[in-house]
Amino acid sequence: MLAQILLLGVTMGAAYALIAVGYTMVYGIIELINFAHGEIYMYGAFMCLAFTIASTPFQAAGAALFAGALAWVVAFDRMLERSGSKPLAQGCGLAAALTLGLAVYGGCLARIPFPVSFLLAVGLAAMLGVAIEIVAYRPLRDSPRLTALITAIGVSLVLQNLAQVIWSAENHTFRKYDAHPALFLRQNMPEGTSFWQTLVEGHYLQAGPLSMSLLQAFILLTAFALMLGLHLLVTRTKLGMAMRACAQDQVAARLMGIDVNRVISITFAIGSALGAVAGILVGLYRDEIKPTMGYQAGVFAFSAAVLGGIGNIPGAMVGGLVLGVAQSLAIYWELSEWSTGIAYLVMISVIILRPAGLMGAQLPRKS
């Protein structure tokens, strides 16, 4: 039984790790605790659900307006950087906003096969991360840290409550919409052949006394594959080198010809995409999505990042796993009511006793 519980802990830990990576990457590069990261995780899950099921026109319109605004911000910013012409950038932004807005509106009303919705939602979440950075954090890059931190809290508040307005505070579950065969491609494939269908319908892998659902296995595999990929990206590629350079010294990086804004945008995009993947997987796994889900996941993931050593990507993975296992152990010992507290305790004691975390952190510097 213990082994079984540990396995469940590892599953949640992998999800925490995926989210924690987003905190750590952003902290590494601009030394900001991105409070809005949990909301990106939530937004990814909601968009995926909105695409897979047929949303109400109100929800579709809300999602479309929001996505349009994101597209405008990102397109405007990139165009302005590239061409330097404001009217051109505005036109480009408007075109992008209209295209994406309409596409999202249609996508929400229609039912899109799950794998496609998954990718679309991850893309939108990445865009959200980039847009947040452009609108809220970039103008404050040279302000006192306090200013940016408070802004981050504001962004988180706005996003979370906006989601409540669009999708209402109630719980949304994928299962609730079981009646819609489109959800898992059931209409396209004969019974028993759909990968997605087997995935979410609770098929089990059995190994002695241990059993693991396919979905669980999928979460673990995806998480580890993504994190390995990220590690390779950061350590082996030119982009990764640019990211590390920006993390060390932005002025020097700029002098070396690195487009710092672009690198920061990419960092946000990657972190947000990973967060959204976690959001969708956890949404499927727990079968519940709600606007407030990002708060607690964010806190847990942040604790994981601190535990591993903030700014340290492998550290975030280790931290996530340790935290997930610790929480499941609390349940094993019938101390459920304290299992959330473990995250806070870990956070406080690590910061006080060993601020560098398990794996060594890039300690915050005074700007």
């Binding site: 039984m1 609730k176 059993s211 079968d287 349940i331 094993y332 009511e337």
Partner: protein, 397 residues
């Protein structure tokens, strides 16, 4: 310094202006004017009945049902020409299920003299938070949903027309033993007043009737993953799993239990009794037994007719919370009609219904009160079958 003084004066002006300009920001002073005269002698002002519950937030569905139930009764009374020529109005207070907001709502009702009684609150924690204010103001707080044993303690102004958790927990334990043939029960409980109260009563009764509680795990409202707890249950081989909590978590528990291969029947309190439970849990909801204060199927002809009227009026299926709020409104308005349009008269009228003979014949059963303001009402059992709540084949006598 001069400039800051000017701004201070501005600020004072702002404060004072909200003082005078109160009406546009809050409906209370507006209605208060009407009630100030109406409460005394002139029959001109409307009689106001408050209804307080979670109108927004997670439990908005319940709040809406309460509001509609009370509205139904108010409309009926108005259709007959009101009470003594005065119209009856419903004023809604949204406590969002949060005790802090509940205090504000209570303060607002209490300070509006036109409000003669309040139907509410739903959450026990909200009823408890409002209690000291209602008591001081001398205003009846009549809950149609709070089941915590302490809700009516220590206040002459608090009543309810629903059973208490200690009774409900007792009945659930007996039901598990007698009618579900259980010997071993695993318990999930919400780490909240409701969940803990119900679970404690269940455990106490279980000890008496030799029903073994093999495991008990608590959870928080925002918990969505119950697999670790379920796998600790699995090893203990329970015959029944009790969920002492609310429907949204119960739905998660049901589907995750089925998914992990735990096929034993589920048992729940009235917190699970909601169509949302079936909607969220889907097929996993089957074979769940829940206790409830009311079932339309057992309510006879009158309940069926009411069901139809409600559906016609609001275009939605009523549930037990609508029925109990309707009963509460009916009883309170009858008090206004028979005993007089003052808060004190309403309280005395309700408090005087203290025996079976004087019981108020509500839709949800005969209602009368003990000296605390609690009422003794039977617990009904429902079962999920074919994605619907139906009366369980065996009821507690």
């Amino acid at each position: 310094m001069i400039s800051s003084r000017t701004v201070l004066v501005f600020l004072v002006g702002l404060l004072v202006s909200t003082g005078c300009g109160g009406p546009p920001t809050g409906p209370a002073p507006d209605a208060g004017l009407g009630g100030g005269t109406g409460g005394g002698s002139a029959p001109a002002g409307a009689i106001v009945l408050g209804v307080a519950g979670p109108m927004t937030g997670d439990l908005a569905q319940v709040g809406k049902m309460m509001e509609r139930g009370a509205k139904m009764r108010v409309d009926e009374v108005n259709a007959k020409g009101g009470i003594g020529g005065r119209k009856v109005e419903l004023e809604v207070g949204d406590d969002t299920g949060n005790p802090k907001e509940a205090s504000t709502v209570a303060q607002k009702f209490a300070s509006n003299p036109a409000v003669l009684a309040v139907v509410g609150h739903y959450n026990s924690s909200c009823s408890l938070a409002g209690k000291p204010i209602y008591k001081e103001a001398g205003l009846v707080e009549f809950s149609s949903g709070s089941t915590n044993p302490t809700v009516c303690e220590g206040s002459d102004w608090t009543f309810r027309n629903i059973y208490r958790d200690d009774f409900q927990g007792q009945m659930l334990a007996r039901y598990a033993k007698q009618h579900m043939g259980a010997a071993r029960v695993a318990v999930f409980y919400d780490n909240d007043d409701y969940g803990i109260g119900l679970k404690t009563a269940f455990e106490e009764e279980a000890k008496k009737i030799a029903l073994e509680v093999v495991a008990a795990q608590s959870y928080e409202r925002d918990t969505v993953d119950f697999r670790p707890q379920l796998s600790t249950f699995m090893a203990k081989r329970p015959d029944v799993i009790l969920v002492s909590g609310l429907f949204s978590q119960a739905a998660k528990i049901a589907s995750q239990a089925r998914e992990s291969g735990l096929a034993v029947p589920l048992l729940g309190g009235d917190g699970v009794f909601s169509d949302e439970y079936i909607k969220n849990a889907g097929a996993a909801a089957e074979n769940t037994y829940v206790s409830t204060p009311f079932l339309f199927e057992l309510g006879g002809e009158r309940a069926r007719a009411w069901h139809g009227d409600f559906k016609k009026a609001f275009g939605a299926e009523p549930d037990a919370w609508a029925v109990l709020a309707y009963d509460a409104a009916a009883l309170l308005l009858q008090g206004v009609e028979k005993a007089g349009a003052t808060r004190k008269a309403v309280r005395d009228y309700v408090a005087a219904i203290d025996s079976k003979e004087k019981a108020f014949p509500g839709l949800g059963g005969a209602t009368y009160f003990d000296k605390n303001g609690d009422c003794l009402k039977p617990v009904h059992m429902a079962l999920v079958k074919g994605s619907k709540f139906v009366p369980a084949p065996k009821q507690m006598n």
